[in-house]
């Protein structure tokens, strides 16, 4: 039974981590036209509890993508400098969409896993019932 509850909590941690990744992707997409915005990236890391690896996963600290900001030419913009350019964001929409899709796939895999474990434990319960 501990295996089952462990598997369920691990699958839940996976779903949580993917959801937080998806949240940051949506932040990036929402701010794709914000001047000076640097896209946020999260890396996943294994959780360690009392020096022991639990096998669960967590979203790591948020880091800012350090790639260069795009220079946008718009002389009428109040932020524009002498040459008529201002700093845009470094968000690449294509990249964000791909990332979102990957997060969705992984989320589904975790959900499937959760369901499978639930079915197994309920089959065990059925055995006890009759």
């Amino acid at each position: 039974m501990t295996d089952f509850s462990e598997a369920m909590s691990v699958a839940t941690s996976g779903m949580k981590a993917q959801a937080s990744r998806l949240r940051h992707v949506s932040e990036n997409i929402a701010n794709s036209d914000t001047p000076g915005y640097q896209r946020k990236v999260v890396a996943f890391e294994e959780m360690v509890e009392r020096g022991r690896r639990t096998g669960a996963v967590a979203a790591g600290p948020v880091r800012l993508d350090q790639t260069e900001l795009t220079r946008v030419y718009d002389p009428s913009n109040p932020l524009a400098d002498d040459t008529g350019h201002y700093d845009g964001s470094n968000v690449n929409l294509l990249l964000e969409i791909a990332d979102a899709r990957e997060a969705q796939r992984s989320y589904e895999a975790n959900l499937k896993m959760f369901d499978q474990v639930r079915q197994m434990s309920s089959a065990l319960m059925d055995l006890l019932r009759n």
Binding site: A7, M8, A11, S13, A56, A109, K112, M113, V117
Partner: protein
């Protein structure tokens, strides 16, 4: 059969093995995007059971406890067949899905064996 109930113990070991394997598969899937994570796995039941049967402790009296039903189930890093992804992760989601289905079936099989053994016992007791 009725004196030792080996079938129950085998079914029990098999169900436990399936549970442990499922936990490892869940771990792999949760870490499918973790950089540097090495996929883990547990050897299939038939291999584990066979190696265990060879190293069986011999009981000198009927009342002695043997270790039947307790098999080694340690997760080991899987020898990666496929190329790891650029971030060093060796989990393949497709393979893990297949494993998960196989494990589900193994668990079902174990429970079915258990239920049928129980039915046989009930029949022999005349309480069908």
């Amino acid at each position: 059969m009725h004196s030792s109930l080996d079938l129950f113990q085998t079914a029990h070991a098999m169900a436990r093995h399936a549970g442990a394997r499922q936990a490892v598969v869940a771990q792999n899937i949760a870490n499918a995007d973790t950089p540097g994570y090495q996929a883990q796995h547990i050897a299939p039941f038939k291999d584990v059971f066979r190696t265990h049967a060879n190293a069986e402790i011999r009981a000198t009296r009927d009342g002695h406890m043997t270790s039947t039903g307790q098999i080694a189930m340690d997760a080991v890093a899987m020898a990666s067949k496929a190329e790891p992804s650029p971030n060093g992760n060796t989990v393949s989601l497709e393979e893990e899905m297949m494993n998960s289905i196989a494990v589900g079936r193994e668990h079902n099989r174990a429970l079915t064996i258990y239920r049928h053994t129980m039915t046989i016992l009930r029949t022999s007791l005349g309480r069908n």
